[in-house]
């Protein structure tokens, strides 16, 4: 089981997926929610700017989508590489 080529491929596919998800995770919270807030301050959302919305609502919604996307994608990768639970 250890070090078989398909397991390595499975693992790098997982690492790729996690990396993409965490980049989006950081962009939604640390990015638009905090540090990049001045960049998107021109976009008005209900009496304030997009950054405020990301900090109090948007980031949490993005996190939700990310976790479900990851779960769905990983569960199908498991099957594709034949490492799912029987």
């Amino acid at each position: 089981m250890a070090d078989s080529p398909s397991n390595n491929e499975y693992w790098s596919a997982n690492i790729r997926l996690v990396t993409i998800c965490l980049v989006i995770w950081a962009l939604a919270s640390f990015g638009f929610g905090i540090l990049l807030r001045p960049l998107v301050s021109g976009i008005a959302v209900g009496g304030t700017d997009l950054g405020f919305w990301f900090a109090q609502q948007g980031s949490i919604l993005v996190f939700l989508v990310l976790i479900f996307f990851y779960a769905w994608r990983m569960n199908s990768l498991d099957k594709q590489f034949g490492v799912d639970e029987e």
Binding site: A55, Q56, I60, L64, E85
Partner: protein
């Protein structure tokens, strides 16, 4: 029927429900006691995790925390939810695959070292104990505010209730009571929020109402059709407070957010909840469901904060800031009710028969005082918890909603306390007694040991709740900092690296633990004893407050573990195979019967 009787009925009914569940979900084996027999549906586990995670602080204090600083404290919203992304992708599924009962057990096996396991037990106990003190105290406070019993008496009643279902049912009993507690607390939180949002903006969803425009016919000179946040910003600046939506220090805010995220992902009482689902795939789904149920409250909380703050201002200034303030005799009933508890307090400093609420220490405040002849802010006590506690009364909802809030606040405190106590007791009975002191203990003996450890943990937590150490406020920062600096990096490296060996892991954990404690102690006092702090806040390293130190401690942990591991021997072959097997879901069923 008076309000206290109504509150008793609601709280009593919720307790009866928890006891019923406890009897139905008795634990018959260690597998049931530690991991609910690994038969919990992922959606159900998500709900239990949400109750496990959301404490009395989330329920009662968070909206107020956000309301008093506005945008800047959004870091609590992002920090306490973003950690679930890390947990779902970096820890939970792999630890479920590993298929054991406790977090230190993984550390001990992966780093083939009893020392590593014991260090992890120490981290776990420090983190969970500091956390549980706050929960016990929170339960006591909820009792005293709603049921007019002494805070200490309330705390002891709460401890007895937890003892019944936690000792009897272990993880199994706790899981199903947490589901019930989640339902109670989320209904209690959202009903007043929906009504307030409807009253102010006409939008039934508070999270959307926050960004909507004001209704017609509201008091306080509020203009219809203007966005709620613009209205709030305007009122606050007129009164000399900081603008609600302004940013203060984005880099420190980002660092604190990261500290809370990593800390959340490393909290053992949350991690072990993912050991209860049947399969690895379920652990992934379950993290998503947990965040769904958490988000229901966390998306509502900022709206509750902003709307309640707006309501308090328009109550104090019914004719707008330019007009006359509220007369002492015209203060609403809810105001009088909560004045009795000491959470609100007024003092007519200039003797004009009216109560002026403003920020006397600011330029705008001074101008206002000049114009109206004020001699200081007359809303002298304004506890932030009031924004949630008085919410149903501010929205003029019937008494049963207040009873629901009482039951909800207690549910939040009890569910978190029970989860923490289980993490502590399983570390003692499984990691210390079963693995270190008496490895030959029988299954029945271990179950008994687990129950006794649970009881002892409850007694100690009750004692600490009754006699809280003077540093209770600081230790919560310690819990998050330690979880971020010690457990999270060690667990993550155990899965994602095959190179980190036992020496590296132990050195890394100690580096994270010691650097974090040192930084906290230098600024907050050695062991938080007042007067022993050696540096003050003007001397923060790079301006970083101790509460924000978690990610830096984690960085030390990663760096030291990497350097030490590379300088010492390779990880044995069988451990490398263990890591390989943790990385793939296949075979998780077999791991159940270990």
């Amino acid at each position: 029927m008076d309000q206290t009787t109504l509150n008793f009925i609601f709280v009593g009914a919720s307790f009866a429900l928890y006891f019923g569940i406890a009897i139905w979900a008795r634990a018959g084996s260690t597998s049931e006691f530690y991991a609910a027999g690994r038969g919990v549906n992922p959606v159900v586990n998500g709900m239990a995790t949400a109750a496990d995670w959301m404490s009395a602080a989330s329920f009662i204090s968070m909206a107020g925390l956000i309301a008093f600083t506005g945008y800047n404290n959004s870091l609590f919203l992002m920090g306490w939810t973003g950690g679930y992304v890390l947990m779902a992708m970096l820890l939970a599924p792999y630890l479920r695959k590993f298929g054991k009962y406790t977090v230190p057990e993984f550390v001990g096996d992966r780093y083939y070292s009893q020392t590593a396991r014991v260090v992890a037990v120490v981290c776990l106990i420090v983190i969970s104990t500091t956390y549980v003190i706050g929960q016990m105290a929170g339960a006591g406070v909820a009792f005293s505010r709603f049921l007019e019993v002494q805070s200490d008496t309330g705390l002891i009643i709460a401890a007895c209730v937890v003892a019944v279902y936690a000792v009897l049912g272990g993880m199994k009993g706790i899981t199903y009571t947490q589901v019930a507690q989640y339902c109670v607390l989320i209904i209690a939180y959202t009903i007043p929020a929906i009504f307030i949002s409807l009253q102010l903006t006409g939008n039934p969803i508070p999270g959307l109402g926050l960004f909507s425009s004001m209704n017609e016919g509201l008091p306080g000179g509020v203009e219809a059709g203007v966005p709620l946040l613009t209205t709030l910003d305007g009122l606050l600046t007129d009164l000399g407070f900081n603008e609600y939506t302004a940013t203060t220090n984005p880099w420190l805010m980002a660092l604190y957010t990261l500290s809370l995220m990593i800390g959340t992902a490393g909290l053992p009482h949350v991690i072990i909840r993912f050991f209860t689902v049947p399969r690895v795939a379920d652990a992934r789904w379950s993290a998503g469901w947990a965040l769904v149920f958490i988000a229901l409250l966390y998306l509502t909380a900022p709206a509750v904060g902003a709307m309640a703050r707006l309501n308090v201002i328009t109550t104090m200034w019914p004719n707008g800031v330019e007009g006359e303030a509220v007369a002492v005799d015209d203060l609403p009933d809810w105001f009088r009710t909560w004045e009795v508890t000491g959470l609100l307090g007024v003092e007519d400093l200039n003797g004009d028969g009216m109560i002026q609420y403003y920020n006397a220490g600011s330029e705008a405040g001074a101008a206002l005082a000049e114009a109206q002849g004020l001699e200081g802010n007359e809303l002298v006590t304004f506890n932030r918890d009031i924004l949630v506690l008085a919410n149903p009364e501010i929205a003029q909802l019937p008494g049963w909603v207040i009873g629901l809030i009482a039951a909800g606040g207690l549910a939040a405190a009890l569910s978190t306390a029970a989860g923490l106590l289980l993490a502590i007791s399983s570390a003692i009975s499984h990691d210390l007694i079963k693995s270190t002191i008496n490895p030959n203990i029988s299954e029945k003996g271990e179950l008994m040991a687990a129950r006794v450890s649970m009881l002892v943990a409850i007694v100690i937590a009750t004692y600490l709740g009754l006699n809280p150490p003077g540093f209770a406020a600081q230790v919560v920062a310690l819990a998050f900092g330690l979880a971020a600096a010690s457990l999270f990096p060690t667990l993550m490296m155990g899965i994602f690296s095959k190179r980190i060996n036992s020496k590296g892991a132990v050195a890394g954990m100690l580096a994270g633990l010691i650097s974090t404690c040192l930084y906290l102690f230098l600024y907050l006092g050695w062991f938080f004893i007042p007067g022993t702090a050696m540096l003050d806040s003007s001397q923060y390293l790079f301006g970083i407050p101790p509460t924000h130190f978690g990610p830096i401690g984690a960085l030390f942990n990663f760096a030291v573990a990497y350097l030490v591991s590379n300088a010492t021997e390779e990880v044995p072959q069988e451990i490398q195979e263990l890591v390989e097997s943790v990385r793939i879901p296949r075979g998780a069923g077999a791991a159940v019967d270990h």
